[in-house]
């Protein structure tokens, strides 16, 4: 039960270039799709193909796995040759100008309608003035005026004559009419009036009163005649305008007979033109030079057609990628223009969003960017739920601004949205957004890595060949491909898997291409790949070197030889983005009599993560289960990650912590030439951990710097052996017997390797052999328990007992 020392061949899985049947990747065909991502490809195929509500896609997986490329390739196949979706235009709503109308037209006809309407307005600007300058119009207008004038003249003339017979004058005043006594055609003065006999005065006043009533009736009649005249002139104007506009609009209606909404719009245009004929007549220029003239085209803007979606020159269904998915970039917006300090808008300032452009096709969005934009996610969901695009101003919605705005008619939405993002976004949205499962029913989950087998190796070779061709790189020799595949397994952290991060492999190939060209080679070789890997490592290696240096200088205390009680070399990993490296960490334990509590200093000072704390609690459970099945143990212990100043997370050091505890309890020293990594369960089984390669290399680098003795090494879980893809220098050192890598399954194997003492196996009665680590621990625990019991008894006896004890 001492674990198994690994052979050098087990530390690295080579990819044999001889297995490739090509000289360079130039001999290989392009690959379509992403190697190994069968589940994702199937899901994508299904999601893109199904046209049912809510079957939008969430494409998830780590960055660099080719998600975008695969989706775009598949969509490109899907949309080519598909029928183009409709054009959409916004036009003025003549009844409710603040609610512009949306009209759907066959692809390419949106711009045709716009051009037709511009021509119509141009024609009307000629035809309408011509009609109103015609002799017919003038003559008919004069007839109306004359009729009105004559009726009025006759009425007032008759009244004037009647008044005159009674020596009363009908006078025009600046505002109307009046009646006054007159003599010889002139109004008599007030003095003359006063001198009149009372009878005359009475007669005059009666006559005036009677005439006033008649005058009042005539004025009422005149008002009615004026209204009639106005109506007749209006009717004439309408008739003449209709004459000009009628056939022009009818021609257009014929052209758009298959589009009822356009026909209805054209009818509204006809009515509006009839009511607004003055806009088409030559107008006087404004007196103020900076003011726009009413005859400017601005007054006729309402007949414009705002083509917000034009698929006239498109090719199949649209595939729209919105890189900046703000609320307005997604759902469109209504712009404003400043006129004399006031913000104005109209339907012509409606701007399309990505949803408009993608309508009838596909919209590709990055979920992280989408969620970062205020209201964008809510807006997208609302559009998908209602299957309509409603353009609303955020400022107005939240009463942030107060200005004229529009409520454009919503446009029906038929789009498939493809969201790209990390898995945690998917799971968070699934958990917290009840709309999400209803709207995004297709999960396209890209694997982080794929199976390392011959088929995928060949596919990777073709992928590399395709990348090289597309990116203008030199082709890769078989050896270079093999080295890339090995590196890919290393990136996957598993000899049996290959990393699906094609972007990193592409970067590696690109950098290797640079080195190959520098060396004037015609193809990329394994040497170039290795140089690129080393250069990448070197560029990211500053922090690792600094920590390494502090360890070698003794600032961070790590022993790599000798023996210490209660002190074990654990291994930890630093993650810096895509770069990771391992370093040893000293873990110490102290034990004493107490109430059975194990103090994890990291947790006490809140520098330990939840998983780390869980690992420590498991240690307590392990000790209790193994040594204290009959009575509680009276152990107090402290565990410390020495010289760590940040948060410690993960349970990969729990084996090391347990061994440190057991060493302290058993008072048996631990070898410092070995470092240990692995997590432990409460049954004492050692479990796999992550980043095993980096951890081994971290301790190896320290040992090598101090001089390899052949006794140094690392103990790892046996379940991590398949993950080993160690650096060549580590493999070579192991092959030369200058470094060891041990694989273990039980904590007792670690104890034996580190202490050199048998761990011991309990007999049928639960008793441990005396000179074993477990036996010593059991004995110590029993002693601590007795001591604790004695202390308790004395405490119960009070001060006298305590004195006796002293």
């Amino acid at each position: 039960m001492t674990g198994r020392m690994l052979r050098s061949e087990e530390l690295y899985t080579r990819c044999d270039p001889a297995a490739f049947a090509f000289a360079t990747t130039a001999d290989l065909e392009d690959v379509v799709g992403i190697p190994g991502q069968v589940r994702a490809t199937e899901a994508l195929d299904f999601g893109v193909g199904i046209r049912r509500e809510g079957y939008n896609l969430f494409v998830m997986g780590p960055p660099g796995t080719g998600k975008h490329r695969l989706v775009r390739e598949l969509l490109a196949q899907k949309v080519s040759g598909a029928s183009r979706p409709s054009d959409w235009v916004y036009v003025n709503n003549f009844e409710h100008p603040h609610k512009p109308l949306a009209i759907e037209l066959a692809s390419g006809r949106g711009s045709a309608l716009r051009d037709d309407m511009r021509r119509l307005v141009e024609d009307l600007r000629i035809a309408i003035p011509a009609v109103f300058e015609s002799d017919e119009y003038r003559s008919r207008g004069e007839q109306i005026d004359l009729d009105f004038a004559e009726r009025q003249e006759k009425a007032f003339g008759e009244l004037g004559a009647e008044a005159s017979q009674q020596s009363i004058a009908l006078l025009r005043t600046p505002n109307g009419f009046s009646l006054a006594p007159a003599k010889d055609g002139e109004v008599i003065s007030a003095e003359d009036y006063e001198r009149l006999p009372e009878a005359d005065k009475e007669r005059i006043q009666k006559a005036i009163a009677a005439l006033q009533q008649k005058l009042e009736r005539i004025i009422r009649l005149a008002q009615q005649w004026r209204r009639e005249r106005f109506e007749r002139v209006k009717a004439l104007n309408r008739e003449m305008t209709l004459l000009a506009v009628g056939h022009l609009v009818d021609d257009l209606r014929l052209r758009y007979a298959d589009a009822p909404k356009v026909c209805a719009y054209l009818e509204a245009v006809r009515q509006d033109v009839i009511e607004s004929r003055d806009d088409f007549l030559p107008q006087q220029k404004s007196g103020l030079p900076f003011l726009p003239s009413p005859s400017d085209a601005a007054s006729l803007r309402r007949y414009e057609v705002n083509v917000i979606i034009d698929h006239g020159d498109g090719n199949g269904m649209p595939v729209v990628v919105e890189e900046h998915p703000t609320y307005s970039n997604l759902l469109g917006r209504v712009d404003h223009i400043s006129q004399f300090g006031t913000l104005m808008t109209d339907f012509g300032l409606i701007k399309a969003g990505a949803l408009h452009r993608a309508n009838g096709g596909y919209l590709l969005l990055d979920v992280h960017r989408l969620l970062m934009q205020p209201f964008a996610w809510e807006g997208l969901k609302r559009a998908l739920s209602t299957r309509g695009i409603r353009i609303e101003s955020l400022g107005e919605m939240y009463s942030l601004v107060s200005t004229v705005s529009l409520e454009p008619e919503p446009i029906p939405l038929d789009v498939k949205v493809v969201l790209f993002g990390e898995r945690y976004f998917y799971h968070l949205l699934q958990a917290y957004d009840p709309d999400f499962p209803r709207l995004f029913k297709v999960a396209v989950d890209f694997d982080d890595d794929v199976k390392h087998d011959a088929g995928n190796r060949d596919l990777y070779a073709r992928v590399l060949g395709t990348m090289a061709r597309h990116d203008g790189l030199l082709p890769l020799e078989g050896g270079a491909v093999a080295r890339v595949i090995e590196h890919s397994a290393r990136l996957a952290g598993d000899a049996l898997r290959l990393s699906a991060n094609l972007r990193r492999l592409g970067d590696l190939a690109g950098e290797a291409d640079h080195w190959a060209r520098t060396a004037s080679r015609q193809a990329i070789t394994a040497v170039d790949i290795q140089r690129a890997i080393d250069a990448q490592q070197r560029r990211s290696d500053r922090l690792r070197e600094r920590i390494h240096e502090t360890i070698l200088r003794g600032t961070i205390m790590i022993d790599s030889d000798g023996e210490k009680v209660g002190q074990v070399n654990g291994l930890s990993v630093y993650m810096l983005g895509e770069h990771a490296f391992g370093e040893p960490t000293r873990i110490t334990a102290t034990t004493r009599v107490g109430d059975g509590q194990i103090i994890d200093v990291q947790r006490e000072v809140e520098l330990g993560g939840a998983i780390h704390s869980k690992g420590v609690l498991i240690l307590s459970a392990f000790l209790a289960a193994r040594f204290s099945t009959r009575e509680p143990h009276a152990l107090s212990a402290s565990l410390v990650f020495e010289q760590t100043y940040g948060t410690v997370e993960g349970d990969s050091a729990s084996v090391a912590e347990l061994v440190a505890l057991m060493s302290s309890l058993a008072e048996v020293p631990v070898r410092q030439s070995l470092a240990v990594t692995g997590s432990v369960n409460q049954l004492g089984q050692v479990q796999a951990i992550g980043r095993v390669n980096e951890k081994i290399e971290g301790f190896f680098d320290i040992c090598r710097a101090r001089g390899l003795t052949g006794h140094q090494g690392v103990i790892i879980p046996a379940t991590n052996v398949d993950h080993l893809m160690l650096r060549s220098d580590v493999v070579e050192a192991v092959a030369a017997g200058r470094f060891q890598v041990w694989a273990v399954r039980e904590v007792d194997e670690v104890v034996e390797l580190l202490t050199g003492m048998p761990a011991g196996v309990a007999d049928a009665g639960g008793a441990w052999p005396a000179e074993t680590v477990n036996g010593r621990i059991a004995r110590r625990l029993k002693a601590l328990t007795r001591l604790r019991q004695q202390q308790m008894r004395l405490a119960l006896q009070g001060p006298k007992g305590q004195r006796e004890a002293q």
Binding site: G157, L171, R172, T173, A180, I219
Partner: protein, 261 residues
């Protein structure tokens, strides 16, 4: 605004007496003669007398309601109207690059007009005086704009009365100019009762259509003139009798009466 030698064409711009035909004739004549257009706002004395009466009231043309009218109201209304018309004239006249003036007089409209210092007086026909037109300012602007746009005026002829006395050369010259400018025919009206001596004294009327009337009484003239655009009346002297004759004539005429001194 005017040179000493410049002729003056005066027309009544009174709020109640402003007439589109008279105004158009005055504008045309002033421009043709390169004369000063003299707008005379006559405050009708009848309105002041009306305002002084104890029961004076006015009914609004637009509102159709009666309201009391006092002299002070009349004065205020006329003053405001004069100001508006002066502004309207100042805005309208520049389109013809014409010298213009604006004056205010108070009295009987015709007498005030005849009393004004002018070479040509355009007296509005009063047969249509009850006709309600657009606002006075609008009528004023239209007169200048029509001339500016080359408007020809009405359809009827321009008439000249060949009375007992001699017709001045200026009168004929003005009438011809107006007729040519408007593309109108010229009509010469003479009394068939005039003797051979009178005929000898008449000027050259070869380009005019001569009409002999039994007499030149206002009623006879009014019947004969029909839709004439303007009637040029020989103004021999400014006498009280002459004024009464013109007043009688204009009360029957629709077209303006042009008096050339």
């Amino acid at each position: 605004m005017q040179s000493a030698a410049r002729r003056r064409v005066v027309v009544d711009l009174g709020a109640t007496t402003l007439d589109p035909l008279a105004l158009a004739a005055a504008v045309d004549l002033a421009e043709l003669a390169e004369a000063e257009f003299a707008g005379l706002f006559i405050e009708d004395v009848n309105l002041f007398r009306l305002g002084a009466l104890p029961f004076a009231a006015e009914i609004g043309m637009a509102s159709g309601t009666w309201r009391p009218l006092a002299t002070v109201d009349v004065e205020r209304m006329l003053r405001l109207q004069a100001e508006r018309l002066q502004r309207a004239l100042a805005e309208a006249a520049p389109v013809l690059a014409m010298a213009w003036s604006f004056g205010v007089a108070r009295g009987a409209p015709l007498r005030s007009l005849l009393a004004a210092r002018a070479d040509v007086s355009v007296v509005p026909g009063a047969a249509r005086r009850s006709r309600v037109h657009d606002g006075p300012e609008q009528v004023l602007r239209q007169a200048f704009q029509r001339r500016h746009a080359g408007g020809k005026g009405g359809h009827g002829p321009v008439a000249v009365v060949l009375g007992e006395g001699s017709v001045s050369g200026r009168t004929l010259e003005s009438a011809r100019a107006l007729a040519r400018s408007r593309g109108a025919a010229m009509l010469a009206l003479a009394s068939s009762a005039s003797g051979p001596q009178g005929k000898r004294e008449r000027p050259d009327t070869s380009e005019m259509r001569m009409i002999h009337l039994p007499d030149l009484a206002p009623e006879t003239l009014a019947r004969a003139l029909g839709n004439a655009q303007a009637l040029f009346w020989p103004l021999s002297e400014e006498s009280a009798e002459g004024a009464v004759e013109i007043e009688s004539l204009r009360l029957l005429l629709e077209c303006p009466v042009v008096l050339v001194r």
